[in-house]
Structure formats: structure tokens, C-alpha cells
Amino acid sequence: MNATLLGAGPLPTQPLIAAAVLRELTNAGPELTALVEIDPSLTASVMAAANAPHLRQARRIASVRQAMVLLGTTAVEAIATSRTAALVMGPDDVGCPPRFWVRSVAAAAACAVLADRLGTNVDEAFTAGMLHDVGDLILFRSDPELHGVVATRMQKGGRTVTEQEKVLFGRNHADVGADQFDRWFLPDRIVRAIRWHHGQPEALTDPLARIVWAGFRLGSHVSDNPLPVGANEVSRPAAVLGAIGLSRENPDAVLADIDRHVNRIVALAGREH
């Protein structure tokens, strides 16, 4: 099996975040830890570090905020530094799948808004949304050309993205991501939510799984990203909200809240840029 599929190498951080981390390192600014939360690779690394078995935590850590409290600022800075260095010192000629960061940010914002509406943990939902497509990143880095074939075939219609990936890679990105996070001892509810974000909503009993299922769909909607799901799947905002028991919510109000959240993230990432 390809080394990247086993999650051996460091996952690449986003250039904008790398630039911001460098700025914070140079100026010893207080924003460095905030940047961790809005980058999928840094989020994944910090979550893996916080759930490492040698820390012997009584319960698993489910959000970046909890992880940062547990690990402390110096450890989080060490992780941010090394992932930034991975980009700066290269040679990384692979990068990320097209619009990977944009859809991760949009999904995370949508998950946070939905969690707030449902009265569940917003931090966990944001983290799970940010991580939901890391499996896609791993597939892309294992074979960018094959990953491109999936996108091409998706445009022709027919199979869903998970079915296409299963045919071409042997596994779909939801399982690849979930298995990776399971190896890193992330909480089962996050692993489940990521594994089933392309599943059927009625089969999802876990609140976080339902939030991620809906969050990634609303995220695709607000970011104008083509939704990589089959023709029969639910994608209209009103139907998505109805499927997770929020049929009384005004879809436009929910989407407006997601817009506000995305604006804040973009402002943080692009500060002084």
C-alpha cells in the first residue's frame, strides 16, 4: 500500500496559515493557537498529539480547544512550527486537492452553526467539520493523477464520489479519513461522523454524525462547491435541515449565520496579508 495512504508523512498545512504562523513566530503574537483551529492539517496533528496513548487521558479529546488546553501553548506551537516548516522547506510538489481548504472551512462553519442550533457542543462540531475531508487529502497525496480521474468521472455523472473512489483507489475517502483518526485514537463519535458523512441521514443516530452529514452539504452550498454526492441524495438546504430535525429553522437565516462565521475565519486567516 502507498505510504501516504498509511498516513506516514506529515499532512501539508495551508500556505496562508503557514505565512500567518511565520508572522506569529516572528512577532511572538498571541494568534498562533487560533490559526491551528482553521487549518485541517494542524487540527489533525494537534488532535493526534492530544490523544496520544502515552498521555493516558481518562477520556479522549474531541475538540481543538480541549487539545490546546491539555497540550499547552509550547507543544501546540511546536506542532504549528513543524507543519509550517514542512511547507517552507519542501520539497512538497503535491499540495492539496482543489478547493480542499475552502470546503473544510465552509463545512466547519456550517457544523458549528448547526451544533449551536441543536444545542450540542459547538467546538467538537467545528473540529469534526474541519477534519471531515482529510481522507480526501490523503487519497490526493497518495496519487494526484488518480484523484483527478475521480473528479473527471464525477462530472460525467453516474456513480457517487465514494463509489468512484472505491473503484479507483479500493477505498473511499470517508473510510480512509476515519481509519486514520481511529489510529490516532480520536474519539469514536468523531471517527463515526467522518466515516458516515456520505451515508444516509436516517441511519445516523449520533448527533455529531448528523451535524457533519448536514454541515458538509450546507458548506458545499454556501461555498458554491459542486456537491460530490449522487443525484438522489439530499442537497437543498431546507431538505438538509429537515433531515436532521431542524425543519422549523429558516434556511436563509441558517445560511446567513454560516456566512458570518466564514467571514470571521477568513478575516483571521487573511489578517495583515
Binding site: G9, T74, A85, M89, L255
Partner: protein, 463 residues
């Protein structure tokens, strides 16, 4: 996280699509700019990463980790603090088994094809003796500038400075674990049960180097082999099997699986195994002696001593749990006539047949015994009126059937049963026997072949 739903301010809020497009736009070209070979950041990042790595490794020293756990945690830390592809840490400290930890796909693994494209950097580690190499640290895929700045050498130096203390702690941890196992094995009770064996096997499975253990006991007393397992059996690793006989009839087999190339002496396994054999042999001998002392020679069932002990145990249990218990006092009907008519040999056969009838009827935790002459006693712990009546009813039938094998067809052997159900734990067992005796007398005087329940004064006619 709190979401602040501030009112929308005209002109300041973009749609997500616009905002994210801005994000994408800001990223354009930034990656190649950051990867500029003349980037001013490389030097700062290099120095930060090395110092971060050493600092985070230092934190592990006080985490009270076993040597194996430490090796894995050290690699995780290096992986978190530096952009490397894979790493390996091998330790071969004196007097301890080899520890080998890897992270990512180290080229030594099955995928040798990636070795050519992945240069490995390896440096040696030293213990307390600077001349003796005790292991090595290897990394692949580290940026050249990081290697040039001495990442590997500085990390191995740092690990070397921590190793002496860690190795001493590991020796102490292993000694303590083995002592715990010895203590547990030596303290095995004469009345040990399967649960006690599980505690011992679970402790053996946590001895340094051992990941799984399986104990197989083949002792007649248990009526079949007992297997107790603990730990997770590793794949593709042959087990080590220690086998011994407990005495002439029993056998004990301990199978262990090692996680590393540890040797048996390190875990003091032979000592523990021998101590376990001695403890079990002693317990079995005690059980055998007790059985001999408490067995009625003529019938093979328990004797009066066995009955007294069972009574005391049932009484103690009732005081502890508040449960009811029952005793049965039984006398074979017209037994003197059997002796007179057919002789003592047939009389003895009838006593043995009745003993078999009792053994057939009682449950595993009930005790049957010969009280004297043709009187017998059964003690039934945790048994109230309903249970006692059921047992007594079956015994009336079973007695006739069992004794029919040794008596002429025209002769039927019956039994009169007096039952005392103890509902008050404070009642003295001797008083309970007196009550059961009175009930039995009542059964005799009201026609025999029946049981009488002393507490409820219920009567039940037999067939």
C-alpha cells in the same frame, strides 16, 4: 466556542462564496513564495524545531513511562516537532529485552521498494557506558537543512542523557511487576476458584515483555479442564509453553507470548511458574485430605464432619447475606427390617443406593452427608420453602427407584424427611437440626414416605 450572531452591518459582510474566494485568492502564489530557497524563514524554523523537539522530549522523562512506551512516545514527539516521513528507535539496554519502535513506514519494514527513494539518517545511542552502543535512532524524509543543523545528533545526545535514568527505572518496574506476580501466586488460597486464577494470569500477562498468557489446569476435582486467558495474543509469534504435573493426576500448562526478544529469566517466569505449581499442588493436597477426612467410608458420601462444616458455612453465609437456607434430616423407613430380613450386606447396599439418590437430587452447591446409622442430612444454602419442597419431592421418588436395584421386587424402600427452613440467620444450626428432627419424627408418625416442613408444618404424602 461561542458564536456571536452580531447584526449584519451593511457593506461589511461578504457571502461565504465571496469570502472563500478571497481566501483562495490570497493563497495563490503564496506556496511558491514560501518555498523560495532563499526564504529568510528557514533558519528560524530550523532552530525552533530542534529546540522544540528537545524540549518536548524532556517532558517525557517525568511521565513515568515504561521503556517501550517511552520509545513510541519519543518518536511521536519527534514526528510532531519536525517534518519527517518516518522514524525508528531501537534500544538494546543491558539486562533488558530489545525495544523497537517505528513510526510511519520505516524502510526496514515490508515495503523495501521505498528504501531507494528515501534516504535514511541513523545515529547511535549510548547508555551509562560511553563506549557501549545500546541502540540507534533513524529518521527519513527530514529536510536537508534540518539534518545539516544537527537534528539527529542533538536528538540522540538528548536521548542518551535521559536513557540511564529510564533504564534504571525500567529495571525497578520489572522487578516490582514480577514481585507482584510472585506475591499473588504465593497467596493462592486453599479454596481457590477460577476467578483467583484469572487474577494470576492477568498479572503474568502484564509482566515486562509478556503480552498474553494462557493457563490450562487439568485437575479431576474440577471435572474438566479449566482455561484462563489474559492479554492479546500477537500475530506471527510462537508462544512459549511451560508444562508440569501437579501430582499423579493433575497437569498445569502455562503458555506465554512475548512482545519483544525478551528472555524468560528477565520476567522471572520460571520462578513464578514453579511457585504457582507449588501453590496449586498444596491447595489440591489440602482439598484431597479434607475430602478423605470428611467422607463416609461405607457410602462414599460426606460424613458427620462434612455435614457440620456445611452447616456452619451455610449459617455464616445466611448471616452475611440474609438469605434463607434449608436442612433435611432423613431416616430410611423400616431399615432394621431390611437388615433382619436380608442381612447386613443388603442393608449396606441400601445405604449406598440412598446416598446415590441424594447425590442425584441435590445441586452442585448443596451438601449431602450420613448423619449416623440410617440417618442422613442435606444442607441446601440459599434455599427457601419452595426449593426445599421441590428437592424433597424428587428425593422421595428417587429413593424408591435407586433402592429397587438392590432389593427384591416385593420390597419397597422409602424415606421420611424432616425439613427445617431457616428464615432467621440468628438461629443456631444445632437448634435447626432439632427442629428438623422433630419434623422427621412427625413424618414417621403420620405414615412415613413423606416430608414435613417444620416451619410451615406442611405435610406431603409420597406416592
Amino acid at each position: 466556542m461561542r458564536i456571536d450572531y452580531a447584526p449584519r452591518q451593511a457593506g461589511t459582510l461578504m457571502t461565504s462564496k465571496q469570502a472563500l474566494a478571497t481566501l483562495d485568492g490570497m493563497q495563490a502564489g503564496l506556496r511558491s513564495a514560501l518555498q523560495d530557497p532563499d526564504s529568510p524563514h528557514a533558519e528560524m524554523l530550523t532552530s525552533l524545531m530542534i529546540s522544540n523537539s528537545l524540549l518536548e522530549l524532556s517532558k517525557l522523562a517525568s511521565a513515568r513511562l515504561g521503556l517501550g512506551e517511552f520509545a513510541q512516545a519519543a518518536l511521536l514527539t519527534i514526528n510532531q516537532c519536525t517534518p519527517i516521513e518516518s522514524c525508528i528507535l531501537v534500544l538494546n539496554p543491558p539486562g533488558l529485552p530489545v525495544v523497537r519502535a517505528t513510526l510511519g513506514m520505516w524502510p526496514d519494514d515490508e515495503t523495501t521498494q521505498i528504501q531507494a527513494s528515501m534516504p535514511c539518517s541513523v545515529a547511535a545511542l549510548y547508555g551509562s557506558d560511553p563506549d557501549n552502543e545500546i541502540g540507534y535512532l533513524g529518521i527519513t524524509g527530514a529536510p536537508q537543512t534540518l539534518l545539516a543543523a544537527g537534528l539527529l545528533e542533538r536528538t540522540t545526545d538528548h536521548l542518551t542523557s535521559m536513557l540511564s535514568m529510564l533504564i534504571d527505572a525500567e529495571h525497578m518496574r520489572r522487578a516490582a511487576a514480577a514481585s507482584r506476580a510472585m506475591e499473588l501466586v504465593g497467596g493462592l488460597d486453599d479454596n481457590y476458584e477460577e476467578a483467583d486464577l484469572f487474577d494470576i494470569v492477568a498479572t503474568i500477562a502484564t509482566l515486562p515483555g509478556i503480552v498474553a498468557a494462557n493457563l490450562l489446569l487439568e485437575i479431576p476435582r474440577f471435572g474438566g479442564p479449566i482455561t484462563v486467558e489474559a492479554g492479546v495474543v500477537p500475530e506471527k509469534r510462537d508462544p512459549e509453553v511451560c508444562e508440569t504435573s501437579i501430582d499423579r493426576t493433575g497437569k498445569m500448562t502455562l503458555t506465554v507470548w512475548w512482545d519483544v526478544d525478551a528472555n524468560v529469566e528477565e520476567a522471572r517466569l520460571p520462578d513464578i511458574f514453579e511457585r504457582l505449581r507449588v501453590s496449586i499442588a498444596r491447595a489440591e493436597q489440602t482439598a484431597r485430605l479434607r475430602a478423605e477426612v470428611e467422607t463416609d467410608e461405607l457410602t462414599g458420601t460426606g460424613n458427620r464432619r462434612r455435614a457440620s462444616r456445611a452447616l456452619a458455612q451455610a449459617s455464616a453465609r445466611a448471616r452475611r447475606t440474609g438469605e434463607e437456607y434449608s436442612i433435611f434430616l432423613m431416616d430410611l423407613d423400616r431399615f432394621k427390617a431390611v437388615n433382619d430380613d436380608y442381612g447386613h450386606e443388603i442393608g449396606d447396599e441400601v445405604l449406598r443406593a440412598f446416598s446415590r439418590a441424594m447425590e442425584n437430587v441435590i445441586r452442585g452447591y448443596d451438601v449431602a452427608a450420613r448423619w449416623g446409622g440410617e440417618e442422613f442430612l442435606i444442607v441446601c444454602p440459599s434455599t427457601g420453602t419452595v426449593g426445599a419442597e421441590a428437592i424433597a419431592g424428587r428425593l422421595l421418588v428417587e429413593t424408591t427407584l435407586s433402592c429397587a436395584d438392590v432389593l427384591p421386587p416385593d420390597r419397597e424402600q422409602t424415606v421420611s424427611i424432616g425439613i427445617a427452613v431457616c428464615q432467621n440467620p440468628e438461629v443456631d444450626p444445632i437448634e435447626l437440626i432439632r427442629i428438623a428432627d422433630a419434623a422427621m419424627y412427625q413424618a414417621k408418625t403420620t405414615g412415613r414416605n413423606r416430608f414435613v416442613l417444620a416451619e410451615a408444618s406442611k405435610k406431603h404424602k409420597g406416592r
